[in-house]
């Protein structure tokens, strides 16, 4: 009696996990599909007015024609360029300042209050001030994006540096390593995983804020195109831009994750 249960147990276990995996996979794909179908049916049947919410098929159609005509590409590239510049500036400043704050107590003390007061300011609140300072050209938009991605990068870098395992620091100490080796070969490498988390959420914030920045003053860019479509009541174009924003954001994060996996292939947590 006992033997049969022993024999059956592993087989049943394997089956059930297989089964569970299939259900989870089904849910992952199924829920978005069901949502889309419901939306499609509701719009097609006229229960939702197409000027408020056009059917997904209609949105895709519009997106396709916008892509073909090259109009959408123009806006995407404009926005991407802004993000790239803003991200480079914001992330570099965030990393450098974060390292300085994490490593040196005086820098930490000198910046605590300033950071504490500036950080809660919503990103969009900067826009009027930045327009006053830099005009309505590219600079103000890039600075908004830079500020947006600066904060998550900064906070993650400081945290990563401060949380360096004291046990590893002791190893360097008993091996009589100097300050430079300690920083370059122990503290920074051990901070890399968290720094990447900061970069990824920084990129997230950058992508989100570009749309905000372009809503206010721009003549190109995906955020501009959205607000323009609203003005001329083209709901399908607006939604096509939203779809674009979602997919590009997803693609950027995917790339960053790939880079992360390459650089920190040693991190055992990454493979769990």
């Amino acid at each position: 009696m006992e033997q049969t249960t022993l024999k059956e147990y592993p087989i049943r276990k394997v089956n059930s996990t297989d089964w569970k995996k299939k259900i989870l996979f089904g849910l992952k794909l199924g829920v978005p599909i069901v949502l889309l179908l419901t939306w499609e049916i509701l719009s097609q049947s006229g229960m939702i007015r197409s000027t408020i919410l056009p059917a997904p098929s209609r949105v895709l159609e519009t997106l396709w024609s916008l892509l073909i005509s090259g109009e959408m590409f123009k806006h995407i590239i404009t926005s991407l360029l802004r993000i790239l510049q803003g991200f480079l500036i914001g992330a570099s400043v965030g990393i450098i300042l974060g390292i300085a704050i994490g490593l040196f107590k005086p820098v930490d003390a000198a910046t605590t209050l300033v950071i504490g007061l500036l950080r809660p300011i919503p990103n969009l609140a900067w826009i009027p001030i930045l327009i006053l300072w830099f005009g309505i050209g590219e600079t103000s938009k890039i600075v908004v994006i830079a500020i947006a991605c600066f904060w998550p990068v900064l906070i993650n870098v400081i945290d990563a540096i401060k949380r360096t395992d004291s046990k590893l620091l002791e190893v360097a100490q008993v091996l009589e390593k100097n300050q430079k080796t300690l920083i370059l070969q122990v503290i920074l490498p051990s901070s890399l995983p968290s720094i990447f988390v900061g970069l990824r959420s920084g990129m997230d914030f950058a992508w989100r804020s570009v749309v905000g920045a372009e809503l206010i003053a721009a003549s190109a860019g995906i955020g501009y195109f959205m607000s323009y479509s609203r003005e001329i009541s083209q709901t399908d174009s607006m939604l096509a831009s939203v779809v674009c924003i979602a997919f590009i954001g997803f693609a950027i994060d995917f790339c960053l994750r790939k880079v992360q996996a390459k650089i920190i292939k040693w991190d055992p947590n990454y493979f769990k």
């Binding site: 590893l168 002791e170 190893v171 008993v174 091996l175 009589e176 490498p189 890399l192 920190i264 493979f271």
Partner: protein, 256 residues
């Protein structure tokens, strides 16, 4: 002349509710080439004593002399092996061992040295592996190689096999004896495993808890390649056991 001389060392820790005495009146002379095992219950201050010798902690009063000079900071003369292997997860086995090298050497010499110590700990095939790909015992071997590469005069081992399973532990104990034969270094090993102490030590230092004091120093006069089941071995083990467990008995005797 003792290579290490510990005299009247006291150590107090400051905690929010006051002071805690970790070590009281510790004196010990260690001769060059000796294998000392410090045995004690957890929390008896044995690791603190080792950390003071390593230069990672400072005694409150008393002196600790290494080669007749007071110890003020860590030195590569005194290698440390911790309970956890403490390898850098982002470095391969080879690079982890290389990190141990403290002298400025050229690339070829470094490489040769690393190969040599990989050989000693038997991990040549794993030199390109990352620590998370190794078993606990292999990780500890890497950390031993990292500590040995500077050829320290004294090796300080803080419960180095505490986290390993019984079989791996025994293999590693033999390994340590083999390495000692080869390197001729002085060894101070902290453990709570009485068998380990009797198997490895020339002298066993038995410590009592709170505050940590030296209760007894026992010479183990057994030839090497010790048999863990011989009657002499068991005899020494009993002596140490009694140091820990006979404590309560006198009270009962008085009652009768």
């Amino acid at each position: 002349m003792a290579i290490l001389s510990i005299n009247q060392v006291n150590k107090e820790f400051q905690i929010p509710t006051g002071k805690v005495k970790a070590l009281e009146n510790i004196s010990l002379q260690v001769e060059e080439g000796e294998f000392i095992c410090i045995v004690g219950a957890s929390g008896c201050g044995k690791s603190t004593l080792l950390r003071i010798i390593a230069g990672l902690e400072e005694q409150t009063t008393g002196t600790v002399l290494y080669d007749n000079t007071p110890i003020t900071k860590p030195s590569t003369d005194r290698g440390v092996i911790f309970q956890e292997s403490r390898l850098f997860p982002w470095l391969t086995v080879e690079k982890n061992i290389e990190f141990g090298i403290s002298n400025a050497l050229d690339k070829a010499t470094k490489k040769e040295l690393i190969q040599h110590y990989l050989n000693i700990v038997g991990l040549q095939e794993f030199q390109k592996a990352y620590p998370h790909q190794l078993s606990g015992g292999m990780q500890q071997r890497v950390s031993i190689a990292r500590a040995l590469i500077n050829q320290p005069k004294i090796l300080l081992l803080d419960e180095p096999f505490g986290a390993l399973d019984a079989l791996t532990k025994m293999t590693m104990q033999d390994e340590i004896l083999r390495i000692r034969e080869y390197q001729k270094s002085t060894m101070i090993l902290v453990t709570h495993d009485i068998d380990e102490a009797v198997y490895l030590a020339d002298r066993v230092v038995i410590m009592s808890s709170r505050p940590g004091t030296i209760r007894k120093v026992l010479n183990i006069q057994l030839p090497r390649n010790r048999n863990r089941n011989s009657s002499d071995f068991v005899h020494y083990r009993d002596i140490i056991y009694q140091q820990f467990f006979k404590q309560e008995e006198p009270d009962f005797n008085y009652e009768i």
